[in-house]
Each structure stands twice: as structure tokens, then as C-alpha cells.
Symmetry: C2
Subunit: 333 residues, 2 copies
């Protein structure tokens, strides 16, 4: 079950505010007396705290172990559990939900970590995809609070190639006349199906299709892979929530803060955490070349590329999850 | 100016017929007395005979030389010049235009080459993208008629990864309510813009964006690249024509013929032409790995991969066009 931190009159980085910002989270394990065993895991695009628990803590002995660590699983603003278009009262509901940044998300999470739990230093921050983007954001925004970091298949600044993917997703979804500028009477299903088909072509690699690895999802063709996996995946999501999180993703940039004023290399250099960056060689929108660039400017950063035909979806492949766990174990010490 | 071959009552491979199939083409140069200097260049997706002339014969000394060769530039069915949804009378107009295959296209081109020009053997067949797909189709469908072949950034059978890209394009375009099942009163512009944004993310490589190579199009951001190049590119196209050619592309498979009955390796093995396959390393939908597979089964096939951040669009980059011309010169002898 999720719990909530509520922050009234929460001013947003890019203008506007939320009269009552709600950050949903769940915790696993126990915070020790020294308060130094906390691991923070921010959620990915569409992901929830429950999803993070399943992917990072499920299936037997895992690196993130509630028997040892106090694991805080947070929900991204816009994901439908934290404050989102789908659950915020008028006049900030649906198509009128304000734009939130990764900076805003991390400010809220910081209030949770320090205010609610009295933690002054996180033992580890890790996350996948937009969870990785939040990991970079944490390490740069609060450098003294992050002992170690492991961004998995994400970036510190959203690349323009990634942005063209996001642009195509937004254009397709909002084309559906049922979308109605965010005030839909029923879900814009055709738009969500177009969204799913675009995602299917980016979420995994060319080799994943060529080797018919989609058989792991019970699919025997590319179209069945879209039908059996990607369509249900996105049809369960609220369209406005998808677009809200998409805006957040699109504007990811750790240097877009009052402290760094767009100086990306300086924002990377400010990161003190021992960091293992874990990109995937065949990730189509977070290519390792950008991770390597980031690592060059981070005093304690190392880029360790995972080779996997699962591409961006590598953490869902048990063999790749084991590689990720090995890196997390190294950082957990 | 295009000329036309008209074939009445043209039965189509996948059912239905065209009461008057029109194959548009233009020729450059002169057919010699031996009729052995003919080069056939089928068009690409959305491309025309004029586009082929510009790309393959423009800009000074090129491999395809009207001073030496009789160059036949054909137009794909559905491209708006050959029989297409946009120019065919009812009841086969617009959304009711029948599905045509690469096999159908090549049957028509064969009638032109043999019937109109009395050519029994083509000195070379070459083309880019869907023009490459037609090149494979020719070499397999009429193996004794193709002396040499150079498919550039295409495939003999459309891969499932490629098909998921095409599925996403179709879903986005047909979502536009203005599309109206193909009977639009005005162009479905929003649909075409979504189509353009999807294409922008596949047409060139990640490195093209990362290095801001889109500056070659006057663009300074990913969105400007979409606006300045891809949107005008597709907004000039008729939506039904785009979908017709897309269906043809999606169903590309040289073995889907009465002769080969789906035996892909046999269809490749039947190719007698000396062939240089020219894929591009960073082509997102026609990856070299498929070309290498094809070459293994072709008795006289060689795969020669071009390295270019222009990806699929390599022939539009002068440096890559020079590499292509060198291979064509080798084949022309």
C-alpha cells in the first residue's frame, strides 16, 4: 500500500503550483538507528512503487534486500498515484494539470527523505529509465546526500533523438478525436494503440524482433507483440498522465536549475556519489554514447554497458537483471 | 516528363484488378542497337522518376550516365504518378484502391522493358529503399534478365522490426479524424505531421541527431528538423497514396510468389545477377545484418556496408553517394 507525503502550496519550477502536492511512496525494510541504510528507488515512466518492488526486489535473493536496507520506492508526479492529471481536483485536473520537472519531483522526494524520515544521506539511489533520470537529478541536486548512485538506462539530460521519439508519441496520442484536449469522456483507445505501436518500435532492439524474442510474451509476430504487451501496457494508463510524464521526461536536464543555469558539464561535475552508470548497448533512446559522455565529467562515475537485445527493457530480462544486481551489490558494499 | 505504359484489366497478385493499370516512367539516354545498355531504376517510397533522376543522375559525373546508358526510371504504383489512389477513377479511387505488391510492380515493369523496349536483359537494376526492394524482386522474379543488381538500403523481405515501424505510421495517420477512411475533404494535416515525427525518428540515425547533422537542413533542433524537412516532405504526399505504398512495402517478400511459395532462401538462391548489396550500418529499419543473411544465399551476392550517420538517408549525403557510385561503376564494368 502506498503512503503519501502532502505538501500544500507547492510552487513548481516552470511556473504554476499545486495547491496540495501528494508524493506517493512505499517503504520496505527498517531504517536502522544510524539512519544510513536507506535506498531510494524513483519510479519509471508509467511505473509505480509496486512495479519497482516487483522489478527490483522480486524473485528471491536480490541486491535490494528489505532484510538489510530501508527501501523507499517513490512515484513520479503524473503516474496516477502521486499528484497527476487523473487525481488532482479542478482547476488543475486533466488537461489543466501543470507541467512538472524532475527537479520538482526530487524537491518533493527530498522533503520525504529528510522531513519524514530524518535521513541526511542516502546509501544508494537507483532507478530505471525515468527512474535513472531522477537518480542523476538527485546526485546533482543534493550531491552531499547521495553516497552512491546507479542510473540504469537513463540520462542526465534528455537527448534530441530521444525527444523526437517523445514528440511522435505525443502527436499520435493527441490526434485521437476522443482525446478532446484532455477532457475525454472515455479513454482515447485508438490513440493509445498508436502510442503502443510507436513504443513497440523503440522499447526493445531490432535484434529482439529479428530473433523473435517476443515469444517470451507469447507473441509470434510483431503485431501480436504490440497487441499482447504494449497495448495492454498503455491502455491501462490515463492519457493525460502519459502526456504529463512525457513532458517531464522531455525536459529532463540536471543543469536546468538555479545552481547550474544550463551548464551541463558543471552539473555532472558536482555529482559526488560513487556512480555506476548502466546503459544498454541496444537501447534505442538512451544510447551508451551519452552515458560515456556523462561519466567523463563525473568525478566518481563509471559507465558499464550491458549488452542485451532487450535494449531499453533489459531489467525485465532475468540475465540482465543479474548484471544490474551485481553492480548494485558493489555499490551497496 | 513522364510517359505511361497502360495495361488494361491488370489482375493483381493479392486479388482484385485495375481496369487500366498505368506505369509511369521516364528514360534518359539512348538504347543502343544491341539493346544491352539499359539500366532500370525503380522509385522509392514517395519517390518519383524525377526524384530518381535528381538523386542518381544529378550533380555532374555520376555512375549512371545518360551519355552511356539507357536509363529507365519507373514510378511505384501508389506514388501518385503511376496508378494510385489519388488518380484512379471510381470505384478504385482513394480508400478503395486495391492492394498492390512488389510482384505486381515488377510484372508491369517487365512488360515495359520487354514489350515497349524489346530489351531481353537489363545491364543493371538498382534502387534505394523500396527501389532496392524492387531490385531484389526483379533479380529473383526474372533471374535471366538481370545481369547485375545493386539494392541500396533495402531488403528482399520486409523484416518484422521494419513492419512495426510501418504499423505505427499507419495507425498515426489514420487516427486523424480528417482522414475519414480515405475520403478526406482536405489533407489530414495533423495525421501527416504525426507521420512525419515518427519518420524523423527512424529516417536517420541517433548519431545524426547527437551531432546536430540536421544543420544541413537549416534546423537547429530536433523539432525544427521535423518541421523543415519531414513535414513538408510528407505534407506534399496524398495520404491514401502513402498508405498504399506502405502496404506494398509491408508485404515485400521475394519468395511470396507462385514460383517460391514462401521459400525465402530458394528465392535468394535463384538470383543470378552479380549483386552488390549496399546497406548502411546505422540504417534503423534495413539493418546490414539482414543484408548479410541475404548475401549468404545469393550465388553472386556480396554485401558491402556503408558507414554513415545519415542512416537510411545515406544516398542524400554526397560522401555516401560517392561510395554508391563507385559500386555501381564496378557493376557497370
Amino acid at each position: 500500500m502506498s503512503e503519501f507525503l502532502e505538501v500544500p502550496n507547492f510552487a513548481l519550477q516552470k511556473g504554476g503550483m499545486l495547491p496540495l502536492a501528494r508524493l506517493a511512496y512505499r517503504t520496505l525494510g527498517t531504517l536502522n538507528a544510524a539512519r544510513d541504510n536507506a535506498v531510494l528507488v524513483p519510479s519509471w515512466y508509467t511505473g509505480t512503487d509496486a512495479d519497482s518492488e516487483f522489478v527490483f526486489c522480486g524473485g528471491g535473493k536480490r541486491a535490494l534486500d528489505p532484510g538489510k536496507h530501508f527501501i523507499i520506492l517513490t512515484n513520479l508526479l503524473g503516474n496516477g498515484i502521486s499528484s497527476s492529471p487523473s487525481n488532482t481536483p479542478a482547476p488543475y485536473d486533466r488537461g489543466m494539470f501543470p507541467n512538472v520537472t524532475l527537479y520538482d519531483n526530487v524537491v518533493l522526494q527530498h522533503k520525504l527523505v529528510t522531513g519524514t524520515f530524518g535521513i541526511t544521506r542516502l546509501h544508494l539511489v537507483t532507478g530505471w529509465s525515468m527512474g535513472a533520470c531522477q537518480t542523476y537529478q538527485w546526485a546533482s541536486q543534493y550531491p552531499d546526500m547521495v553516497r552512491a548512485a546507479a542510473p540504469i538506462a537513463g540520462s542526465a539530460r534528455t537527448a534530441s533523438f530521444n525527444k523526437i521519439f517523445l514528440l511522435s508519441l505525443r502527436r499520435a496520442l493527441t490526434l485521437d478525436p476522443a482525446f478532446d484536449e484532455g477532457f475525454y469522456a472515455r479513454p482515447p483507445l485508438a490513440g493509445l494503440r498508436a502510442f503502443a505501436a510507436i513504443y513497440a518500435g523503440w522499447g526493445v532492439s531490432e535484434a529482439f524482433f529479428r530473433t523473435k524474442a517476443y515469444a517470451a510474451f507469447g507473441a509470434s509476430t510483431h503485431e501480436e507483440f504490440s497487441q499482447y504487451f504494449w497495448e495492454p501496457f498503455f491502455q491501462k494508463c490515463d492519457a493525460n498522465n502519459l502526456l504529463s510524464q512525457l513532458w517531464t521526461w522531455e525536459h529532463g536536464d540536471i543543469s536546468d536549475t538555479p545552481a547550474f543555469k544550463g551548464d551541463f558539464e558543471a552539473a555532472l561535475a558536482a555529482i559526488k556519489a560513487k556512480t555506476i552508470i548502466l546503459p544498454v548497448d541496444l537501447d534505442r533512446y538512451f544510447p551508451p554514447v551519452d552515458s560515456e559522455y556523462e561519466a567523463r565529467f563525473m568525478p566518481n562515475g563509471e559507465c558499464r554497458t550491458i549488452n542485451s537485445i532487450w535494449g531499453h527493457m533489459a531489467p525485465f530480462n532475468p540475465a540482465d537483471a543479474a548484471i544490474i544486481d551485481a553492480a548494485l551489490n558493489e555499490l551497496l558494499g
